[in-house]
C-alpha cells in the first residue's frame, strides 16, 4: 500500500472515529447556539465548519433533534451564501487580470451554484431526519436541547423552511420539475399573502425570496395569469441590490409583463400600463401589485 493510500486510510479512520462519537447534549447545544450566532452575523464559512464538525451519530431523541437542527442550520448557512455572500470556490480558472498574477496571489472566485448544491444536500438530510424528530420537545427530559433562538420555532415550521430553501435553490438551478414537486406539497405558496406569511414565519433569507417568487410564477403562469403577474412583480420588487435575479429571469419576467402575457396590466386609477422597472404607477403612485388585468389586444 502506498504512503498516500495509508495516509488516506488513516484520515478516513480519524474522520469515522470523530463522527462515531456521540456528543453530549449540552456541548451540542452550545455549538448550535454559536453556529446560529455566526450565521446571524454573516460569518458563514465559520458556521459551516463548526456545524459540519459538530454533526455526530444520534443515539437518543435529544441528539436526533439537535442533529436535525444542525442540518437545518447548514441549509441556512448555504442558502445565505448562495443568495448573498458565497464562499465556496468555483472550479473555473481566474479571469482577466487574474491570469497575470502569481498562482498564490490569485483569488478563486466564489460560486453561488456550489452553495445551492450543498444546501440541497443538507436539505435532503433534514427531510430524512424529520420523521424521527417530529414529536420531540426541545426540553425533553427536563434538559434544554436547543438554544433559545431555535427552541421557539416548531419542528414543523423548521421543515417548512427547509422546503422553501430547497425551492429557491431548485429555481436558481432551473430544475422546474423539482420546484413543481415542492409546490404540490405546499399549495398555500400560490396565494400571495399566505406565501409572504410563510416566508416571514420561517425567516427565509431575503436573497432567496425572489427565486421563490420566480418558482411560483412559473408554476401558476400557465393557469392563472393575473395571479402570475403578482408573483412576477413581487419577484422583481424583491430582486434588488445584492439579492438580484439572474439576467435571464429578470428579462423573462419583464418581457412577460410587457409582451408575452395574454393580458395587459393597468393602473385602476389612471390606466397607466405596468412598467416592470417601476413598482408603482408613474402617474398616481399606486402600487403595481394593485394593477388590474385587461385582455391584450392582439395586432391583426
Amino acid at each position: 500500500m502506498s504512503s498516500s493510500s495509508l495516509r488516506k486510510c488513516a484520515l478516513a479512520l480519524l474522520g469515522v472515529v470523530a463522527c462515531a462519537t456521540p456528543r453530549d447534549h449540552a456541548v451540542m447545544r452550545v455549538d448550535l447556539e454559536h453556529a446560529q450566532a455566526l450565521v446571524t452575523r454573516g460569518d458563514l464559512p465559520a458556521a459551516a465548519k463548526l456545524l459540519e464538525r459538530s454533526l455526530a451519530p444520534a443515539d437518543d431523541d435529544g441528539a436526533k433533534l439537535q442533529r436535525f437542527h444542525a442540518a437545518v442550520l447548514l441549509v441556512r448557512t448555504h442558502v445565505a451564501a448562495a443568495f448573498g455572500a458565497p464562499f465556496l470556490g468555483s472550479g473555473l480558472p481566474p479571469e482577466g487580470a487574474e491570469w497575470r498574477l502569481d498562482a498564490r496571489a490569485r483569488t478563486q472566485s466564489a460560486s453561488p451554484l456550489a452553495h445551492c448544491v450543498a444546501a440541497l444536500r443538507w436539505a435532503d438530510y433534514a427531510r430524512g431526519w424529520y420523521d424521527e424528530v417530529q414529536g420531540i420537545a426541545p426540553n425533553a427530559g427536563g434538559e434544554t436541547l436547543l438554544p433559545e433562538a431555535l427552541g421557539g420555532v416548531t419542528t414543523r415550521d423548521t421543515l417548512a423552511y427547509v422546503h422553501l430553501a430547497a425551492l429557491a435553490c431548485f429555481a436558481r438551478l432551473r430544475f422546474e420539475d423539482r420546484v413543481e414537486e415542492i409546490l404540490a406539497g405546499i399549495p398555500e405558496l400560490t396565494e400571495l399573502e399566505r406565501c409572504d406569511t410563510l416566508l416571514a414565519a420561517t425567516r427565509v433569507e431575503d436573497g432567496a425570496r425572489p427565486w421563490i417568487y420566480v418558482g411560483v410564477f412559473e408554476h401558476v403562469v400557465r393557469t392563472d395569469e393575473p395571479l402570475a403577474f403578482k408573483f412576477a412583480v413581487h419577484a422583481l420588487e424583491t430582486s434588488t441590490g445584492a439579492h438580484e435575479l439572474g439576467e435571464r429571469e429578470h428579462e423573462r419576467l419583464a418581457n412577460w409583463i410587457t409582451r408575452d402575457s395574454h393580458f395587459v396590466f393597468k393602473c385602476p386609477t389612471c390606466k397607466t400600463l405596468a412598467d416592470p422597472v417601476l413598482f408603482s404607477c408613474s402617474v398616481c403612485r399606486r402600487p403595481t401589485l394593485e394593477f388590474e388585468p385587461e385582455p391584450r389586444e392582439t395586432s391583426k
Binding site: 474522520g15 456550489a114 422546503h163
Partner: protein
C-alpha cells in the same frame, strides 16, 4: 350522537391546527417527496442536457482515468430540442463553455481539456480520448454524447467508487452520492450566455 361529538372534536382540532401552523392542508410537508440528487436529464428552454458517470469508463477509454490521471470523466449530451430548434443559433464555445462539476458538499471540480488529460496518460490512449471528448461548436438537434473531464485535485483527496465519491478535507472524510453532483456549463444561445445545470446519472 357519537358522530356529532367526533365532528365537533375534528372541527376543533382543525381550527387549532390552522391557528398554530402556517399551513392549511393536513400535512403538506410530509407529502412532499424527498429529493435524492438532481435529474440527470433536463430540457432548459431549447437546450437539452444529460450527464452520467460510468464506473466502467475504462472499457471506453482503454484505461481508468481516475487512477491513471486523477480525472473524473463524465459523459454529457447537449443538443437542441423543441419548437424553434431549427432557427436557434446555439454554440458550445470552448472559450466560454466553462464546465464545472459540483460535488454534493459544494466542492467544485475544474474541467480539463482533452489535451490536458492526454498529457497525463500514455500516448497510445490520447487519440481515442480526444475523439471521445464532448464536441464543441454549433449545436444541433442531433444528440451526440461526449465526455467532459474534471480534475480530482488536490491529489489524494478523492476516492471514487461506483456510486459515491469520498472527499477528504482536513481530518474529515465525507462519503458523497455521485447522483447529488451537478454539471454546469454555458451555452451561447442567440449571442448570449446561458447557464445549463444537470445532475449526474449512471
Amino acid at each position: 350522537m357519537p358522530r356529532t361529538i367526533l365532528a365537533v372534536a375534528f372541527a376543533l382540532c382543525t381550527s387549532c391546527a390552522a391557528v398554530n401552523a402556517p399551513f392549511r392542508s393536513a400535512d403538506p410537508l410530509a407529502a412532499t417527496p424527498a429529493t435524492q440528487g438532481f435529474p440527470s436529464q433536463k430540457l432548459d428552454g431549447l437546450i437539452f442536457a444529460a450527464a452520467r458517470w460510468d464506473a466502467q469508463h475504462d472499457e471506453v477509454f482503454g484505461l481508468d482515468l481516475v487512477r491513471a490521471a486523477d480525472v473524473l470523466p463524465i459523459a454529457v449530451t447537449a443538443c437542441l430540442r423543441g419548437d424553434g430548434q431549427d432557427r436557434a443559433r446555439a454554440w458550445l464555445n470552448p472559450e466560454r463553455m466553462a464546465p464545472e462539476l459540483f460535488l454534493a458538499d459544494g466542492t467544485a471540480l475544474a474541467a480539463l481539456t482533452a489535451d490536458e488529460v492526454t498529457a497525463r496518460v500514455p500516448e497510445r490512449y490520447g487519440a481515442r480520448l480526444k475523439k471521445l471528448a464532448l464536441g464543441t461548436g454549433l449545436m444541433t438537434a442531433h444528440a451526440d454524447e461526449g465526455w467532459l473531464f474534471f480534475e480530482l485535485a488536490p491529489r489524494g483527496a478523492f476516492d471514487v467508487g461506483e456510486r459515491t465519491i469520498a472527499h477528504t478535507s482536513g481530518e474529515r472524510t465525507s462519503e458523497l452520492d455521485l447522483r447529488a453532483s451537478l454539471v454546469a456549463f454555458q451555452v451561447t444561445l442567440d449571442g448570449r450566455e446561458q447557464s445549463v445545470c444537470v445532475g449526474v446519472g449512471r
